[in-house]
C-alpha cells in the first residue's frame, strides 16, 4: 500500500517514528459514554465545513437593499443585504438550503452533546485532579459554543433573531456602570445599528472559532497526555489502561462515529425544516419598522436565559443615583453565578472532601450520591428555566393563562431542584445497597509499591 512509503518519506524530513509507534499502540478505554466528547468534536468539524461554504454566499452587511429573488411574498421588500443573501442562499443556490440547515442543526446538536458530555464527566467524577484543569478548559468551550451559536443565528438579521438581539442589548445595558458603554461599543452606537451584522460576523467566523480551536487543541492534548480515565472493574486499576489500541480498533470506531454523526446531521438538514427565516421576514423593513412575532424564543441553549428573565418578578433597585434594572438579575446575575459555580466545582469538591489525590478511575453515579444529587438538581433547575422560556407556547398548548405557567414555574424552580436532589441521592444509596450490577472485584497486576510518605506527589489511591 501507499502508507509505508509515505511514512518513510515524512520520517526522512521530520523524524518522530518513536512517537508515532507509541501513538499507534496507545490504549484507549472503550466505554460507550467516552465517545460523547468525540461526537462534540465531529459536530464542530461539520460546523466549520458547512460554515465555510455558507461564508462564500453570505453578505455580512447591514446595508439596506430591496429583495428581487424568487420568494414571492418578499418581492420588493426592503431588508438588509445580510438577510437577502440568506434568502438567496435558501431559495436560489442549489444545495444552499440544505447546507444552511445542516449548519444550524449541527449547532443545536453540538451544544446538546457538549452538555451530555459535561454531564457524563460530572457524574463520574472525571473532573477530579489532575483533570480539573481540563474541566476549566471544557466549561470555557461550552460558554464559547453558546455565544457563537447566538452570534450565528443573529447574523441573518431576521425578525425572530433580531428580537433576541434586542434582549441582548438590554442585558448589556443592565451591567452596572459599564452597561451603556459595553452596549454602544458592541453595536457601534445605539441599538440597532448597521454595524451589528459585520461585527457579529467577524466574531462568529473568526474570533470565537479561533479561540475554540485553540482551547479544543489544549483540551485534546490534555486528554492525550493525561490519558483517558476508566471505570473501576475487572482488571482495572489506577495505574493501568484497559481498552483498545488506537490502530486499528479505536480508529475504525472513531471513523464510524464520525460518518454516522455527519450522516445524522445531513438527514436532519434535509428532512426537518429549521429557522425558516422567510416566514419571519426581515428585522426591519419599510412598513414593518418595529415589529415582533408572538411566541418569540431563542434557540434552545439560550432558552434558560430567556426563562430566567421571564421568571424574575418585577424587582428593580432604583435610587436617584443608581439603578440596577430588572434584567440584571435574570440576565447577568444568574448566568454569572451558574457558570462561576460550574468552573469552581472541582476545587470546591476537593476542598469539601479533603481530597488532594490524583484519580484515574471513575465512579459510577451511584457511588457518589451527593454529587449525583447535585447533578439532578442542576438538570431540573435548567429544565424549569427552559420550560419557563416557552411559557407562552405552553400556555397555548394547555389553554391556560401564561401568568399561571409563570407562577407555577416560580415555585417549581426552587422546589424541583431540592426534591430532585433528595430523591436522587436516596435512589443512589438504595442502588448501592441493593447490590444490583456490582463492580467485579478489581484484580489484575499488583499496583506499584507505595511511594515514601515524604514524597510531595502523594500516594496512589483507588
Amino acid at each position: 500500500m501507499l502508507i509505508r512509503p509515505v511514512l518513510r518519506w515524512l520520517d526522512d524530513r521530520v523524524g518522530g517514528a518513536p512517537f508515532f509507534s507509541k501513538a499507534l499502540n496507545r490504549v484507549f478505554p472503550d466505554h460507550w459514554s467516552f465517545m460523547l466528547g468525540e461526537i462534540v468534536l465531529y459536530c464542530f468539524i461539520v460546523l466549520v465545513a458547512t460554515g465555510t461554504y455558507l461564508g462564500f454566499f453570505f453578505e455580512p452587511s447591514g446595508r439596506e437593499v430591496v429583495y428581487d429573488g424568487s420568494f414571492a411574498p418578499l418581492q420588493g421588500v426592503e431588508m438588509s443585504a445580510a438577510y437577502r443573501s440568506a434568502l438567496d442562499l435558501s431559495f436560489d443556490v442549489r444545495a444552499g438550503l440544505v447546507m444552511r440547515q445542516i449548519h444550524h442543526w449541527a449547532a443545536l446538536v453540538f451544544v446538546a452533546t457538549m452538555v451530555v458530555h459535561l454531564a457524563r464527566v460530572f457524574l463520574t467524577g472525571g473532573y477530579r485532579k489532575p483533570r480539573d484543569l481540563n474541566w476549566v478548559v471544557g466549561v470555557t468551550l461550552l460558554v464559547l459554543a453558546i455565544v457563537n451559536g447566538f452570534l450565528g443565528y443573529s447574523l441573518l438579521d431576521d425578525l425572530l433573531s433580531g428580537t433576541g438581539v434586542r434582549v441582548a442589548n438590554a442585558i448589556l445595558l443592565a451591567v452596572p456602570f459599564l452597561g451603556p458603554d459595553l452596549a454602544f461599543g458592541l453595536f457601534g452606537g445605539e441599538f440597532p445599528t448597521e454595524d451589528l451584522v459585520p461585527r457579529f460576523y467577524i466574531l462568529h467566523v473568526l474570533v470565537v472559532p479561533a479561540i475554540i480551536v485553540g482551547l479544543l487543541s489544549v483540551h485534546l492534548a490534555l486528554v492525550w497526555r493525561q490519558k483517558h480515565t476508566q471505570f473501576a472493574g475487572e482488571g482495572r486499576t489506577e495505574t493501568n489502561l484497559v481498552g483498545e489500541r488506537l490502530w486499528p480498533a479505536y480508529a475504525m470506531k472513531a471513523g464510524s462515529l464520525f460518518f454516522l454523526t455527519v450522516a445524522m446531521l445531513a438527514a436532519l438538514g434535509g428532512l426537518a425544516q429549521i429557522n425558516p427565516i422567510w416566514a419571519y421576514g426581515p428585522f426591519r423593513s419599510g412598513l414593518a419598522t418595529t415589529a415582533v412575532t408572538s411566541a418569540s424564543q431563542p434557540d434552545w441553549y439560550m432558552g434558560w436565559l430567556d426563562g430566567a428573565l421571564r421568571l424574575m418578578p418585577a424587582w428593580e433597585l432604583r435610587t436617584e443615583w443608581f439603578t440596577l434594572p430588572n434584567p440584571f438579575f435574570g440576565g447577568v446575575l444568574v448566568p454569572s453565578l451558574f457558570f462561576g459555580l460550574l468552573y469552581a466545582y472541582p476545587f470546591l469538591e476537593a476542598r469539601w472532601t479533603h481530597d488532594r489525590h490524583r484519580h484515574n478511575l471513575l465512579q459510577r453515579p451511584r457511588d457518589n450520591p451527593g454529587r449525583t444529587g447535585i447533578g439532578a438538581a442542576v438538570a431540573s433547575f435548567y429544565l424549569v428555566l427552559f420550560l419557563a422560556g416557552s411559557n407562552d407556547v405552553l400556555a397555548g398548548v394547555f389553554e391556560v393563562a401564561p401568568e399561571s405557567i409563570t407562577a407555577l414555574f416560580r415555585v417549581l424552580v426552587i422546589v424541583l431542584p431540592a426534591a430532585a436532589f433528595a430523591l436522587t441521592r436516596r435512589l443512589c444509596r438504595e442502588l448501592q445497597a441493593s447490590g444490583l450490577r456490582p463492580i467485579a472485584e478489581p484484580g489484575g497486576p499488583r499496583p506499584q509499591p507505595e511511594p515514601e510518605p515524604e514524597d510531595p506527589r502523594g500516594g496512589v489511591r483507588r
Binding site: 490504549v27 442549489r94 434582549v167 483498545e244 480508529a251 464510524s256 460518518f259 454516522l260 434594572p325
Partner: protein, 286 residues
Amino acid sequence: MERSAAVALTISTLAALGLAAVYIAGGQPQAEGVLLALCLGGIGVALGLWGKDIGGSHREPGAEPAVVTAERPELPSDAGPRADVAASLDRGGRALGRHDRRRFLGRFFATAAGALGLAALFPLRSLGPAPGGALRHTAWREGSRATVDGRPVRAADLAVGSVLTVFPGDDTSEDSATVLIRVDPDRLDLPAGREGWAPDGLVAYSKICTHVGCPVGLYQETTNELLCPCHQSTFDVLRGARPVSGPATRSLPQLPITIDDEGFVVAQSDYEEPIGAGFWNRERRP
C-alpha cells in the same frame, strides 16, 4: 460481517451517484439531505461493523484480542528532572543578575508593560461612540407630526379602540417608535401633571418595552392593556401605561401630543424620560 458491510458500502456508492444526479437536475433539499445521509451513513456502518469485529473470536492466529492492558505512568515528573528545571531557572537568574539595580530594572519593565497594556485598551473606545445623552433622547420634537409610512396621521383616522404605530415625520429610528391609541376619554386616569397630553382620548406611549426593549405590539381592547409578547409585561393604557403584570418595573413613557389646526396629531415635545430598558444612571437628570 463482510456481507453487511458490503451492502452498506454499495448503498453509500449509489447514494453518492444519486446525489450528483439530483444536483445536476436542479437540486431538492429533502433528496439532498437523505442521499447525503445514506452516503455517509453507509461508510459509517461499514467502518463500525469492521471495527467491532476486530479482535473477536474469529480473529487470525497471531492477532491480539480487542481489549488489551497497558501501563499508565505517573504524571508528575521524577525528582531528578524537577531539580534540573529548578537548576536551569537558577542559572538563568544568576545570568540576569540579582543585585538591587537589576531588581529595580525589573520594576521599570513592569511599569512599562502595565502602561502599554492600559494604552492598548484605548483603541476599544473607537468601537462605539460614548453613550452621552443618546439613551435619553428620541427623534420626537415639539411639532413633530405622527406618521405612518411617511403619511401624517389625522386624529379623525382613529376610532375608539384603534391602534397605530407612528414615528416622528420621516425619522423611523427604532427608539422613536410610538403606539397611538384612542380610548374613551372619560375613562382616562393619567398621572398628575399630564393634563393636555391626551386630546380626545388619544394617548401615545413609547412602543419599546421598559423590560428588555421588545416592541409592545399587542393592544387588548377589552381590558385597555398593552401587552409585550416577549415576556408578557402588561401595561394599563388608561393609567399612564403603568405595569400591572409581568417583569417590567416602569411605565411606558408617555409622549405628550396634541392636535394641530389641520387635524394632524403632533407631539408637544420629546419624551420626558429615557425610553426602553433601564441602565445604571437612568434616574440621574443631566
